[in-house]
Amino acid sequence: MNNLLNQLPCPALITNASGNVLAVNTDLLTLIGGTTEQWLEKPMELFFPPASRIFLQTHVWPMLYREESVHEIYLKISNAQGLRIPVMVNCQKGHFKSVDGYFWVFFVALERSKFESELLEARKRAEVSATALSERESFVKNITDAMPGLVSYWDHDLRCRFANKAYWAWYGKQPDTMIGHTLLELMGEHFYSRNEAHIRSALAGKMQTFEATLNKAEGGICFTLTNCIPDVDAQGMVIGCFVLVSDVSHIKSAERELRLAASVFESTIEGIMVTDAQGIILSVNPAFSEITGYPAEEAIGHTPHILKSNRHDPAFYAAVWQDVASKGRWEGETWNRRKNGEVYLEWQSITIIRSSADEPIRYVSVFNDITEFWQKDERMRHLAFHDSLTNLPNRTLLIERLGQLIAMTERTQRNVTLMFLDLDGFKAVNDNLGHDIGDELLQIVAQKLLEQVRLADTVARLGGDEFVILLDNPANKEEVARIAARIIATVNIPMNIGGKSASVGVSIGIAMHPTDGHTTAQLIKSADTAMYAAKEAGKNTYRFFNPTMTAKIKA
């Protein structure tokens, strides 16, 4: 039998049903080493590496017992050098020396296994790409499911072929019940018909982007931005479309608010200036330019110093910024300077805008030009306290100042003297030369009176041709008499008014505090009494008050 085995051009052996060696040929011995004697009765497994042993026991023997032969099984043999040699194994059950024998033939299969390993590689690649495909599918699904937008695919009959999680959640469906639904079923007649034109256009091959309102399963509608992208096959036929729907309700309302804010910014009559935390101007509105004279491009990039008027000291600005820092806001009047150099008053509010980290990132200044209001206000104030013809203080202001001076005498030694003046012959000027000349004469007299006193003194007109002069702290009675005499002299100088000469005299009554009165009323009354005494004494003269005058006048 060994001879027969040795005639085979490849390794071969015979075993019993347990795999113990009954005979072995030379080719096999050459491969695995050892002698026939050494191998007899030994398990053939000894020349197989562990993996091949397992395969023999789990696959080859069960098949041999069942089928009595195996063909072309790929195994490895450990050769004499310990290398693992791939072999193709064939085995056939037969009889050997009157017992069951298994006839094994091995083909050293380097060539063949090369081909098969290529085949195997190809299959592995196919496995890998199948795995990759399924991973890619689940990757795409995971991505689309993570998206807040609605992602779907519709075939040419507008039946759903794919819908991401947001999509089926939107319509309150389960993932499996979405597939196969038509768009019409899902959207309902009303919403479908409103969007149908876009959908038809997409199916005609035109990409569509449009805003639409959509119904939600939980009720209510949403503003959406929808993209319909046609899916075109290799022949150019539209076979379906991808639909991407984004809920833009929030964006919509934000946009509305933004647009409103922008239009307010653009159209408000209040100047608005926005700076960064370092005070660099970032934006200004048209009203800013109108008020300050600086066009936006000349303001942006600069600091608000370009507007500085120098009417406020550094302490003022320090207080402003202290308020902004502590209260987040400041409001008040500020004098600023326009581009043309003109100083103006503004009512300004400065607000701080903080980042989410609570750091100041912007300052917003909103202001009105209140210069005109201020001027009007000043004029009103002036009118209330002055005589409109001569611009001299009126009775009210006179009484206020007199009161102030009397109050001051209580703290410091101070002479306060009141002169009551009444023009002589003014009625004749008025009657003969006209009221206009008369008015002009009063203005000239007012000027003459001002020239005769110091700035600290007050010249007031009580009305008609009556004037009062309040002398603040004259040196003494003689000084007062000199002033009175000077006044009479200067008033007496004839005046040329509109080519006509006009002359008047003046009678002056003088009352001194506190001898002639403690209160404003008493002093005015005493001066008035003294003035009448001067009139009685022949006019165009002055008289100091004395108490006997009162009785005379009354009499």
């Binding site: 993996a51 069942r66 085949l119």
Partner: protein, 277 residues
Amino acid sequence: MNILERNNVHVQGKDGAVLLYAHGFGCNQNMWRKVTPAFSTTHQQVLFDYVGSGKSDIASFDTQRYSSLQGYVQDLLDVCDALNLSSGVTFVGHSVSCSIGLLASITRPKLFDRLVLIGPSPCFLNDPPDYLGGFEREDLEDLLSLMDQNYIGWANYLASAAAGETPENTLSAELSDSFCSTDPLVAKVFAKTTFFSDNRNELPQVSCPSLILQHRHDALAPMVVGEYMHQHLKNSTLNVLDIAGHCGHMSHPALVIEAMRAYFNIPLHQHRDTARI
């Protein structure tokens, strides 16, 4: 899907105690064909294929489920439930099915009267110094690669089926009964589950009496492994068959039948005394 169809269940005989046969990795219920005739008059015998093996319903295969021996345990229990078997069953398992039967007996302590374990191993991997299962991880990786090489036949089989050859065709019929008819991916899952499982910790939880049929020269489940099982299984009997290989029930069915009969003849309560035959 009906379990009886899914697991290709066959019941032989009507009377007698139930013998439930479970095949090992790489095989199917046909491996029992030299044993079953011996018990045809005394027992009712149940044979089945695990999902993914033999003529089971391949569509029911689930990689996740069968990546753990518990998936195969569930197949076994499903078959018992489908047949209304809840007690008095004698389990006969080969190789990895021994572990499956042991795990099932832990889940359903009443189901089995006794277990016949042919070539069992609780763990094929070496875990030195205390345990030598016989293999290194690398060996088992090589096995998977060998399977890849040999399951190429499966592709050929598919090709011939696609060419319209009838199942009656000799070659196709032959292939359909061999491992080559198995989906290589499915076989690899079973291989990994079989060879990378370690059930040593579960052995002490088994109380059901068992007969360990150990092959004297077995590359897959060597003597030391059989002895380890015997030491850790309560109420176990170790019977060493004087044969080489891993499939005594196929190569030397008479020896296996004899050992089974001898075991069945011992009254159940006597199994409680650990014995070595």
